[in-house]
Each structure stands twice: as C-alpha cells, then as structure tokens.
Point group: C2
Chain length 316, copies 2
C-alpha cells in the first residue's frame, strides 16, 4: 500500500522564495541551497530563468547558479519559460534541465497565468516540444496545474482532467514524445483526501506505466492529509518546500504555500517510508531560513521536534 521509498523534490529556493517580498541576498540563497544539498534531496529546484520584471526575487538566477555547489546524487533543476530562459540556464552549466509540458485544468486560471486558453496550450505544445528538442532537453513530465480546483472556477471535474491528460499525452505521442511522469498540481489548495484518492486512482488505472508526482499546497491546512492519501495510494513522487515557504500569487495575501518538506519527510519516516533525506539537517535549514526572514515559517516540526529525536533522547 505505502511505497517503500518516495522521491521528494525540494522547491523552496524557487517556488518558495519567489513570492517573498523582501529581497533575499544572493549569498543567503546560495547558502540555503548548499545546506539543502547536504540533506540529500534527489532533486532541488534552484531558481528560475524568467524576466526579473515578473519575478524580481529571481533576478539573480545566474549568480545563484554560479555560487551553489553541485552535490553528487542530487539533480538541480531550474524553471524557464522559453528559449531565452533555456539558454540562460544552460550557459551556467549547473543544471540538469528537465523538459516539462504543461497544461492547466482550469480555463480561467490558464488564461490568467499563461495568457493562453487550454486549446491554445495544447496547440502551443508542439512548439514547446520542438524548442525542448532543439536544446537537447529530455521531456520527462506532463504537468497538470489546478488539477483539483481553482479559485476562479471552483472544483474541477476529474473526468475533465483525465480527458485533458489523454489529449496532452496523445499530442505528445504524435511527436514521438513519451513522458515518464504526470504531475498533478493542487496549485491553489483545492484538494482533499477523497479527491486525491479518486484522481490518483484514475490516473494509475489508465496509465499504470507512468509515475505520479503530487504537487500539494497547504493553503487550507489539508496538505499533509492529502499527502497521506497519496502515500496510501502508492504515490512515489512529491514536491514540497522547506518550512512550507511560499504562497501563491493566486491565493490571498499571507496564504500558506507548498506543504512543508520537513513535515512530509517526518511523516514518511514515521510510516516506515524511506526518503533518503537527513531530517535533522533539514530542520537546520528551516531554522536558518527563519533567521534570515525574521519570522516563524508555516512548518510546525522545527518547534515541535522530531519524534525520532525524542525517542533517542528518551532512551539515553
């Protein structure tokens, strides 16, 4: 039922930090990334090569890339939107760029976030694939944003999501692209455990050969319960951010961000599921970020302490 091992992608340095209003010094970002590397994440999302006009916090992407130390065993990813972003990222020679094709289940969210309707996104996919190929980037993941619901359109019908995935996969296959993973994104925190169970179950039934990545937000406090539901369904890949850093430009001011990595890791370990991640070191990163930002983060584990550390203290 539970997977033996899960793979957690740490998205704090990019998705988490990009929404921070206070500018975080480049050297602090580098320090955090290097500390995260010491925790043995399989994947860290480091930065974003996009226009600093839209995401000012990521304006130092090149310097961050130059500064952080790659560690063997960890993949370092960066976000890019177009050829220019790819070229900037590739020029740094620090990334394991992954090709993502992306659709959004909510039409309104799609237009607001990407300036394209769902139909336009599907058509544009051919260009996206061509650009990724030209730049020798392996196309690994089909991402579905707002897969469970959206603040503009409310609950999203899972049948609509399944048919969208079907269309996107077919379109990719017609170009000889066969992804390995489907990312189900609860972009603005609409999922609940039964909807996770249902959509994950449907995707597993139809595409048993593909891995599922759950990208969960804790906007309404149900994120860890949703992750638990995913684990029970055998999901092996999760996105999360250290401390629960982040938020969402499409949620309210002060809304919680991604699920907190340390809470996810802690729960996995308590359930006997391997993550390969050094949880004590990860809590040091959380503490460091709280010092840097001068506030308590959403993740509760830092101040509660891990059960494993309490067990060890008790047995002394």
């Amino acid at each position: 039922m539970f997977p033996k091992k899960v793979y957690i992608r740490e998205v704090g340095p990019r998705e988490g930090m990009q929404i921070e209003k206070k500018n975080i010094a480049t050297e602090d970002k580098i320090k955090i990334i290097d500390m995260l590397s010491e925790c043995n994440f399989p994947v860290i999302e480091v930065t974003s090569f996009v226009s600093p006009k839209w995401v000012p916090q990521m304006a130092d992407a090149e310097e961050v890339a130059k500064g952080f130390k790659r560690k063997t065993g960890t993949e370092y990813q960066a976000v890019y939107l177009n050829t220019k972003g790819i070229e900037r990222a590739q020029a740094t020679e620090k990334f394991d760029l992954e090709g993502v094709i992306s659709i959004t289940a909510s039409e309104t969210f799609s237009v607001k976030n990407t300036n394209r309707t769902i139909e336009e996104t599907l058509i544009e996919m051919d260009n996206r694939i061509a650009v990724l190929r030209e730049n020798d980037i392996p196309i690994i993941t089909l991402t579905v944003m707002t897969a469970f619901g959206c603040n503009y359109e409310g609950d999203i019908d899972p049948n609509h999501v399944i048919s969208l995935i079907e269309r996107a996969l077919k379109r990719a296959e017609s170009q000889d692209v066969f992804v390995k993973r489907i990312l189900l994104g609860d972009t603005v925190g609409w999922a609940k455990p039964p909807s996770i169970e249902h959509l994950v179950g449907e995707v597993q039934k139809r595409w048993p050969e593909l891995d599922i990545i759950l990208h969960l937000h804790d906007t309404r406090g149900m994120g860890i319960a949703n992750a638990y539901a995913g684990l029970k369904m055998g999901v092996t890949h999760f996105d999360s951010s250290v401390g629960g850093l982040g938020g969402c430009p499409f949620s309210g001011e002060g809304a919680a961000g991604n699920i907190a990595t340390e809470e996810l890791v802690h729960m996995c370990h308590e359930l006997g599921i391997e993550t390969g991640i050094d949880l004590d070191k990860l809590l040091e990163v959380t503490a460091e970020i709280e010092r840097l930002l001068g506030r308590k983060l959403q993740g509760k584990l830092l101040h509660g302490g891990t059960l494993e550390s309490l067990r060890k203290a008790g047995s002394k």
Copy 2:
C-alpha cells in the same frame, strides 16, 4: 464510513489561552467566548478553576464566568482539579460541569503532570468519583492522556492503553459509574494516521457502546491527517482550538497547539460531514484573536479562505 455529523468542542479559551505568556485582558477573553458562542459550538471549554499560581492566565476565571453570555444549544465547560475548583465553578452558575475521570498512559508523564503514578491514579479514582457525586456532577468521560506516545517514554503500546482503559472502566463500574465516552488524547503530538486507525479500531471493537473523542495536537503537522483518519473510522467527537491556539508545557517553546478548529470544521464540511458550526463567523474569531495577540496563528485557513466562500464568489 464518515459520520454524518461530528461534535466539536472548542477548547481555545481554556487549553489554548492558558499557555499564552502575555496576559489576555478579561474583557477580551469574554469577547472571544461570546464570539465563539455565535458560531454554534455544541461545547465550549471556557476557563479553568485552578490555582493562579500554576496557571496565571486563568486567574480571572470568576470574572470571565460572570462576563460571558450563555447561548442556548451550547454547553459551557470549565476545568477543575478538586472540590475547591468545583465549588468555585458552581458558584458562578454559568457552567454545565461534566465529570471526567482521567488516566495517563505514560507513567513518567503521569508523575510529571499529576504527581501520581498510573497505579496511584487508579486508586485515587474512587475519591474522584466520590467528589463528583457529592457535587452532583454527571460522570460522562474517561480521558486517556498521552494515549499515543509521550516525549519521555516514546511510543505507547496500544495494548497497554487498552488494558488501562479496561482497568479504569472496571474500577468505575465497581462504583456504579458508567461513562459514555472515551477521550483518546494525543497530548504531545505522537499520533500518526495508522496509530489512530489502530487504537480507535480496538476501542470501537471492545466498547462499541461508547463514543470516542479524539483530542489531537498538531505538534508535528500531522494533526489534520490524524483527524481525517479518525473521521474515516467514524469518530464523532473532536476537541480543537480556534486558530490552533495553544501549545503544551511538555512540548518545546513555540510548539504548535491543538489542531485548529477552523481547519477541522472546513475539512468536515468539504467531506460532507455536518458540524453545525458557522465557519465564516469562526474565521472572524480567528482574525480577532490574531489582532489581540498581534501575531499570525498556526491555523492556515484564515489567510487561505474557505473553499465555500471561493465557490460562492466564483458563481456570482
């Protein structure tokens, strides 16, 4: 599988506030209690008639009792340890006092928290029952503290908990006391969904006629996942605190408190489970407490917004 309706006891004014270091003005406490009454809770734990030496924040119990307005349909509870506390509470004529007999599953925690071993607690139970009877307080609940684990002793064996419950119930029955409910307290946040499922299942199997109350803390971010596990097992009674107010003197400084009532209510409503509670009004209480305390509380829903409000806004 899910219950049709759950009964949530709001413990914020007592268990939540008692750990606040900053003194909360009596009139502010009264205001919060009255606002909570407007949310239609079946039960509110209002205050504690204990020594102000031990719990300074509750020194104004009489004034709080005098000030708040009782609302039809809500039971108002107060905590007391001994005859003196009962007399103080009864003198105010504002409470629906409930008789609780209490045991602690962890021997070390029992001694540190109550100055009695488990065996001494069981023997003392006869006196407790006598005192409650003398004061005409109906004995409703058997409380088991640290039912899942404890920072001193680590994980607690569920078989030990079951046998303790058995002994406590027998001892009570020998005095013609038949409780209606068993409260399983995850006092310092050691539960995880499978341990909830296991212990709740065992209690249901042995004592199907008794209701279970889950008293959950969110010390390590698993509280709502644990509540979900309880709901799936059909648990109908929960304790929680508005905003996730509180903490625990036996957890670390800054550790999270009880599960946040608004997150529990929101999850129930999203699962189609009735609570009778007005969630929008409850979020006004959370906002008011954030203003009073001058800090963001642990509960995330206030800043994320309810899905129901977003659905309504979207359909306009």
